[in-house]
């Protein structure tokens, strides 16, 4: 994201500049003084505003242009990145609606002044808030504004020849020179031989006496900028993929009882809870069905779960079209291995218990129900809930409403026994329920929705519903009510909590994530560096041909390690050590950026 901020002269450590110099040195040979060019001088140099543009228009244009330049500048990118980090912080520290809405209610109760204000400002939905979106959109606009020109520049640099050899190689941070045997042509061949894998250009430059001299310019490490561009472009791709997933994806949870019960992904009404993407209306969910056969959990003696496993069957595609005769394909659903079917994923996210009660009415009719109870304690799997019965065979609604029955209370998979029971172990080793039997009007047909885990408190308080019995029951035991009705606790069934997720873009996101990683690795490990050689015949005194080679090198980015490479080239080309020191520190600390190049 480097933009038009060339390094200021006198920066103490230019060698670490990641990319800053790339914008100014587009393969055009520059004199060392250009390295010190300031941002201002660049602006003046490219200012448009030719004749014929009025002052006012220029003002507006200038404003727009300056705003744009400001937006795509490195400093702005830095500030935006910092803001992005800062703006995400409440997302971690405050309760978030998408994660746990109950905690927001709690927070608002604890902070009656602050809570509503924070809520209005979107602090409980940080990642959906306009200010968060503003920051990352600005950041990505800045990124695009920066990447466009840089990609063009890179394409140009890739086609361009390596820059001409600077007149004075002694001014480079690495340089050396020596006289060697052989003709200049042979020396050129040797230099080129050593620079395999580099992009090289050989130029002839006749010296003052008109004798043939050569310069070799070489550059390597173009992939660094490619990696950099890939990294940033992949970030854009990642954002687009993420957004697409949010628009076209959906996610729903459903509880299914074991023992062959089925769930079909046909519509959102089949779910207990459902979160749809902005462009999902729920009419075209991926068609498939699952059938849950068994659920097994293994626990350590201290009650810590060790393994969850659910045997399921599924149907999709042709199996589904075959209807009831279609085969069920078996699958072992486990915590870290979801079922991937029909473009969706099915996860095993929870489990719990469902007691079966049979109510036998005085007229001999009976009703049996198995309804999931919710887990009240994750460690011991103590469950709570309400199983609701409607008495059959009554002539009218009024009498029906007087005779509805609810069995509500606690279920301990491994009961502690005694009068007040609790659960001591999560597995269903010694199940027992402690229930209240309520009779009266459950309020099931008053038009309001109600939780399947509770009876409406209002009905209890108004007296429409009264408690007629309270008792602990082991499987097989029953309660006899005063009117002769019996309530029997039959057994306990396991249920599994499934999550069905659909995200059509997640594979793209993965691809972009891998590209991000590759781009990042490339841009941080590859070093862009330059090497020059000037080759001229030695003074024609000796009989045998002698050639003077001067070499110079410069790492354009992080110089770490370049010294070794240069030393190797020096040894090979000049024999053991040119007389000159290869490292050329600038005592004033103002070393070239991008060097004399």
């Amino acid at each position: 994201m480097t933009k038009a901020i060339p390094e200021a002269a006198g920066t103490p450590e230019p060698e670490h500049s990641e990319q800053a110099e790339q914008t100014t040195s587009t393969g055009v040979p520059e004199t060392p003084t250009q390295g010190a060019e300031s941002a201002d001088s660049r602006k003046i140099a490219d200012s448009p505003g030719g004749g014929g543009v009025s002052d006012g228009a220029w003002g507006v244009w200038g404003f727009v242009r300056n705003t744009w330049r400001g937006l795509v500048s490195m400093r702005t990118a830095l500030v935006l990145l910092f803001l992005l980090a800062l703006a995400s912080l409440p997302g971690a520290l405050l309760p978030q609606r998408s994660l746990n809405p109950a905690k927001i209610t709690e927070y608002r109760q604890q902070h009656p002044m602050l809570g509503p204000v924070l809520d209005r400002l979107g602090f409980f939905d940080v990642f959906a808030s306009p200010w968060f979106a503003a920051i990352y959109l600005l950041l990505f606009v800045s990124l695009i504004g920066c990447l466009g020109p840089r990609t063009l520049e890179y394409a140009r640099a890739c086609r361009a020849q390596p820059v001409a050899t600077p007149r004075n190689l002694n001014r480079l941070p690495h340089h050396a020179g020596a006289e060697v045997d052989g003709s200049p042509e042979q020396a050129v061949a040797r230099v080129r031989d050593q620079l395999r894998g580099w992009r090289t250009a050989v130029r002839e430059e006749p010296d003052a006496d008109g004798r043939a001299s050569f310069t070799v310019s070489a550059e390597k490490g173009y992939l660094r900028e490619a990696g950099n561009l890939v990294f940033h472009l992949a970030l854009l791709g990642l954002l687009v993929g993420f957004a697409a997933g949010k628009l076209f994806g959906y996610e729903g949870q459903v509880i299914v009882l074991t023992g062959g019960n089925q769930f079909c992904n046909s519509g959102i009404l089949g779910y207990d809870s459902f979160r749809a993407g902005a462009l999902v209306d729920g009419t075209s969910l991926s068609p498939f069905c699952v059938k849950v056969d068994t659920f097994d959990a293994e626990y350590l003696p201290n009650g810590q779960p060790e393994h969850y496993r659910s045997s399921i069957g599924y149907q999709a595609g042709a199996d589904l079209d075959a209807g009831a005769t279609g085969p069920w394909r078996p699958y072992q659903l486990e915590v870290n291995s979801p079922l991937r079917v029909a473009g969706d994923r099915v996860y095993l996210l929870g489990h719990g218990y469902a007691p079966t009660f049979t109510v036998t009415f005085p007229d001999g009719t009976s009703r049996t129900q198995t309804v999931q109870w919710r887990t009240a304690d994750q460690t011991t799997m103590l469950a709570e809930g309400a199983t609701k019965f409607d008495r059959p065979g009554l002539p009218d609604d009024a009498s029906r409403r007087l005779n509805q029955i609810a069995v509500t209370g606690l279920l301990a998979p491994t009961s502690s026994g005694g009068k007040v029971i609790t659960s001591v172990f999560p597995a269903p080793l010694r199940p027992e329920v402690a229930v209240d039997v309520l009779r009266g009007d459950l309020g099931l047909d008053d038009g309001r929705g109600q939780s399947i885990f509770e009876v409406p408190q209002a009905q209890l308080q108004s007296g429409a519903l009264t408690r007629v019995a309270r008792q602990n029951l082991l499987p097989g035991q029953e309660i006899r009510l005063n009117d002769g009705t019996t309530v029997r606790f039959d057994r306990v069934t396991q249920w599994v909590g499934l999550q069905i997720s659909h995200d059509p873009a997640q594979d793209f996101v993965l691809v972009f994530a891998v590209l991000i990683l590759l781009g990042l690795g490339t841009s941080l490990t590859i070093k862009r560096r330059r090497f020059w050689a000037r080759i001229r015949p030695a003074d024609p005194v000796a009989e045998s041909e002698r050639t003077v080679i001067e070499i110079g090198g410069l790492a354009r980015t992080d110089q770490a390690g370049y010294g070794e490479e240069f030393a190797r080239l020096r040894t090979v080309l000049l024999g053991n050590g040119g007389p000159e020191d290869s490292d050329n520190p600038r005592p004033d600390g103002t070393r070239d950026r991008g060097g004399s190049a």
Binding site: F82, Q304, N336, A555, Q559, G563, R591
Partner: protein, 334 residues
């Protein structure tokens, strides 16, 4: 999966020994400073001479760039001391400290490996094991940095300090007995994700310490024990080089975490508190890299950002797991 109690006990012994050895190494590193200071009083003119050397070294250091290119800086040696016969006390203390750090590292490795055998799984399944792994990575990183650049030795005390504090916390408040892990953690992604995270965290910890000391060194007027530290430029360069290695690794760790989350929790990214702060840490280090390429931010500003990164990273490792409730809240606590 039964737990081998005997091995678990040996692992604990090794852990405690490692903590003790590191502590001793840290004290020896501090002894190095104390001796430097005492000698500074005794040999004032020698100090001045050394400062002249430092000043001379400081300039090429900014240009020569790679410490590997430059001869190992001998800053850590006592003031103008003769190399022979017999080393000076600070030198001896420093060498002993390094030797002990290596020993501690070996014992620490043994502790982690034995723990892994005791529970028959990869041994980073809870906060105790995880912190132990992060600290081990930090120590190994530190030893590697030291090998590449022996002049960094006086940093030892400051690298071992956070390691010691964290290990102490892990071994006391956060200790859990060797046990199998919950089903959600039974995945090969545990190995990949947590290894990458702990290695990246260990690296960033060393980088962060180097940046803190860089800032201290830069703002100090010289004199006192700070003179024993490597030159500011050396510290800054070390911080940068470790960070550019750690950043892609950290990115990989986050991506691995996302892939695992897709398999375990039903989505690859859900702004869980841990994920959110991981994102923040990533952005802060992205800031650092950009600052390194922005005029006026290259040294001081970037170093501050690196320190912010260190704080955010430690915050993510510990606070998020221990205080907030999220999907990473297992790990034997809360």
């Amino acid at each position: 999966m039964p737990v081998n109690e005997t091995l678990a006990i040996y692992s604990d012994y090794a852990f405690h020994s490692a903590v003790g050895i590191y502590l001793l190494a840290m004290l020896l590193h501090l002894g190095e400073y104390a001796r430097v200071r005492a000698q500074a009083v005794l040999a004032r003119e020698a100090v001045l001479a050394r400062e002249a050397v430092l000043a001379r070294e400081a300039v090429p250091a900014g240009v020569v760039v790679d410490s590997a290119d430059a001869p190992a800086e001998s800053v850590s040696r006592g003031p103008g001391e003769p190399v022979s016969p017999g080393r000076s006390w600070p030198e001896r203390f420093g060498r002993m400290a390094v030797a002990l750090t290596i020993l501690g590292g070996l014992v620490h490795v043994a502790s982690v490996v034995i723990r892994g055998f005791a529970v028959a799984r990869w041994p980073w399944g809870n906060m105790y094991e995880f912190i132990s792994a992060v600290c081990l990575m930090a120590v190994l990183t530190w030893l590697y940095v030291l090998r590449r650049n022996p002049g960094m030795r006086p940093l030892g005390a400051f690298v071992l300090l956070p390691v010691e504090v964290l290990l102490f916390l892990a071994g006391s408040a956060l200790y859990v007995k060797a046990a199998p892990v919950v089903p959600a953690l039974q995945s090969y992604w545990l190995t990949i994700h947590v290894t990458a995270v702990s290695l990246a965290s260990g690296l960033l910890m060393v980088a962060g310490v180097a940046s803190v000391l860089f800032l201290v060194r830069r703002h100090s007027r010289g004199g006192g024990f700070l003179d024993a530290l490597p030159a500011a430029e050396t510290l800054d360069r070390a911080a940068y080089r470790v960070t550019i290695f750690a950043f892609p690794l950290y990115t990989f760790a986050v991506i691995a975490g996302a892939i695992w989350a897709e398999a375990a929790w039903g989505r690859f990214w859900g702004w869980d508190p841990k994920e959110t702060v991981a994102f923040i840490v990533w952005v802060v280090y992205a800031c650092y890299l950009h600052a390194r390429a922005t005029a006026g931010w290259r040294t001081g500003g970037a170093a501050w950002i690196n320190v912010v990164g260190l704080i955010a990273m430690l915050f993510n490792l510990f606070f998020i797991n221990l205080v907030t409730t999220g999907l990473h809240s297992y790990a034997g606590v809360g």
